[in-house]
């Protein structure tokens, strides 16, 4: 029964929830990244992502990728997690997009496949793209897997992102779970009453109806949250407690991050 609205959407929801759970689990392990101040994690990992897109040499990006692997292993993120949840997904998307480039890019022929020609430049382009995406996604995934969402937000706020934006990010994330729970309940109850596969038109109707109920619930919830915020003294200015403290280890790590990134950009220019 794959591919139907009920099945695939419910699975998508389940995937989101398990991803959140996984992140919470890993974030509480004692590993390298977990030991750092969240601000250092955010700045460090994002600067490495920047280095990935600024570099122009495959070898340099490859080195960054290995760096990501080292970070992962020392932060208790298993390779199988990375493979399953990060690398294969990227390969499925970018891999397929990059494949035709091998044939289409003009340059020196390296091999022939029937009437199609594989060029060296094509291989380089495709390889560069895939490696870049994989490395950058790995760094971002490491940040989110090893850091509780609340800390990611606090770090962003401490790094001078506008307060309202961070508050909205926090609230959105929190209410995604409420809506996913509601939607899952609706879909599950529908699934238990459905035998076989519904015709697409009926599935569409169900999807729209579910979305409609979610919409009503969303607006209603937001109205109530508004009142609840007011009742606890909210007047438009979000006040927060900042309690991050940088240690010597944090400064050292930050320096290492920035140096590696800088080196990569310089070597890869």
């Amino acid at each position: 029964m794959s591919g139907t609205f009920l099945e695939s959407t419910t699975m998508g929801f389940a995937r989101a929830i398990t991803r959140a759970m996984l992140s919470e689990h890993i974030a509480h392990q004692r590993g390298l990244l977990q030991s750092l101040d969240p601000r250092v994690r955010v700045v460090g990992l994002f600067s490495l992502v920047l280095a990935v897109i600024l570099s122009r040499k495959i070898a340099v990006i490859g080195a960054l990728f290995i760096g990501a692997l080292v970070l992962a292993i020392s932060s208790k993120v298993s390779l199988s997690t990375l493979v399953k949840r990060v690398w294969l997904v990227v390969l499925g998307f970018t891999g397929v997009i990059a494949l035709p480039a091998i044939f289409v890019t003009p340059g020196d022929t390296v091999a022939r496949l029937g009437s199609a020609v594989i060029t060296e430049q094509g291989l380089r382009t495709a390889g560069l793209l895939i490696l870049r995406v994989e490395t950058a996604v790995t760094f971002t995934a490491l940040l989110v897997l090893c850091t509780p969402w609340a800390h990611v937000l606090k770090a962003l706020r401490a790094l001078r992102l506008p307060r309202e934006a961070v508050t909205m990010l926090a609230m959105t994330y929190r209410y995604v779970f409420l809506l996913v729970e509601t939607a899952t309940q609706m879909l599950d109850s529908r699934r238990s009453r459905t035998v076989g596969v519904l015709p697409p038109a009926e599935q569409r109707r169900m999807a729209v109806r579910t979305a409609g109920v979610l919409l009503s619930k969303s607006v209603e919830t937001s109205n109530e949250v508004y009142l609840a915020m007011q009742a606890r003294g909210f007047r438009g200015d979000v006040q927060v407690l900042s309690d991050f403290r940088m240690t010597l280890w944090d400064y050292t790590a930050l320096l290492l991050f920035l140096l590696s990134g800088g080196l990569a950009v310089w070597k890869g220019r």
Binding site: V104, V137, T172, V176, G236
Partner: protein
């Protein structure tokens, strides 16, 4: 396409650009554009109640996020994912929609790796900002002054959704397509997204993204119909029908007439080719040596996919001819020429129609009794 099903099964949306597809300078430009949109939206919304805005935008962003995960079966046996940008624009108005969608996209990028960090600006610009504006503009124009419960609004929402998603897709395709021409290695091969406009644009538009357009149309039309029955008050904000503020959603749509909106869009379309040029020259990406390469490369890969009508060919030459010989090769590429002609043409039509409308209205006002 098999990989499509695989990705759809995993609930991913295809329009989110991952890290590595866009060069750093492209990312920076797109971030600047996005930041402008965010700043303008936040300023507009602050005029309303900030206390009200924060929970409303947040929960709506959560709603968009969840709707983006719906795997909708479409006519023809395929499936697609909607964005939810049209409903957001209809209920919240364009500023609210811009913020709500941007937040949803940010969470998708950070938390799910759907879309990159360096490309967050581009993704928000394409889907949240341009998507919201096109959805809002199209909806208002097509629905005009129809009654809240009329079928016309349902159809308007569907069309608006389709246009919005395709506008976002077109922008995405253009951002991809200019990469190889602007950012490539000494030997010629592209450093980032590998396909030129002639491949990128058709691939994105004709491919599964058109399905996303239909998915968005289905959800938008369906939700407007649902709201007409269940909660018509939510439609009042952007209906342009009367000044009464609905008790539930107190967000007012941006003030100002539709005319102003369309004038802006028309001007933007006229200016776009100049913008692309400016972006290119500003980054100083071209040295004489590289120009030669670029020209060769562009020529070799830009074989037109089909025989274009002669008139269009002539028009596109009109575009590229005025540029001096030392201009970078990509400006002379035929496919870019078509694209620019199309945009220019639409821009001209829009300006003409707005002018005509303005003249008719002035004539009517003069003729009518005081």
């Amino acid at each position: 396409m098999r990989y499509d099903e695989e990705r759809h099964r995993r609930g991913e949306c295809a329009m989110h650009i991952p890290d590595g597809y866009l060069s750093p300078s492209t990312c920076a430009v797109m971030y600047a554009g996005a930041a402008t949109g965010w700043y303008a939206s936040l300023k507009r919304l602050k005029r309303v109640l900030l206390t009200r805005v924060i929970p409303l935008i947040s929960v709506f962003a959560a709603f968009s996020f969840v709707v983006m995960m719906f795997n909708l079966p479409l006519p023809g046996g395929t499936t697609g994912h909607a964005l939810g940008v049209t409903v957001a624009a209809i209920v919240l108005g364009p500023s609210g929609a811009i913020l709500a969608l941007s937040i949803a996209i940010t969470i998708q990028a950070l938390f799910f790796g759907d879309g990159g960090i360096s490309t967050l600006g581009a993704n928000c610009f394409n889907m949240a900002i341009v998507g919201s504006l096109v959805a809002y503009g199209a909806y208002r124009l097509i629905a005009a002054h129809a009654a809240l419960s009329s079928k016309r609004r349902v159809i308007a929402a569907g069309i608006a959704g389709y246009l919005a998603v395709n506008a976002a897709a077109l922008l995405t395709a253009i951002e991809f397509g200019i990469q190889p021409m602007l950012f490539h290695d000494a030997g010629g091969p592209p450093l980032y997204a590998p396909y030129p406009l002639s491949i990128a644009v058709p691939a994105m538009m004709i491919g599964h993204l058109t399905f996303a357009g239909i998915a968005e149309a289905v959800i938008s039309a369906g939700l407007v119909a649902y709201l007409q029955a269940a909660d018509p008050g939510l439609l009042r904000g952007t209906s342009g029908l009367w000044q009464e503020i609905s008790t539930r959603v107190e967000l007012r749509p941006t003030g100002g007439s539709l005319r102003r909106l369309w004038t802006t869009i028309a001007l933007l379309m006229l200016l776009t080719p100049l913008g692309i040029l400016a972006a290119g020259t500003a980054w100083g990406e071209w040295s004489p040596g590289k120009l030669a390469h670029a020209a060769n490369y562009a020529q070799s890969v830009n074989a037109p996919a089909a025989i274009a009508p002669r008139g269009l060919q002539r028009l596109s030459k009109l575009w590229t001819a005025p540029f001096p010989a030392y201009a970078p090769g990509f400006v002379r590429s035929r496919s870019l020429g078509y694209l620019l002609s199309a945009m220019f043409g639409v821009g001209v039509l829009l300006c003409l129609s707005l002018l005509t409308q303005g003249m008719i209205e002035r004539y009517r006002r003069r003729g009518s009794p005081a």
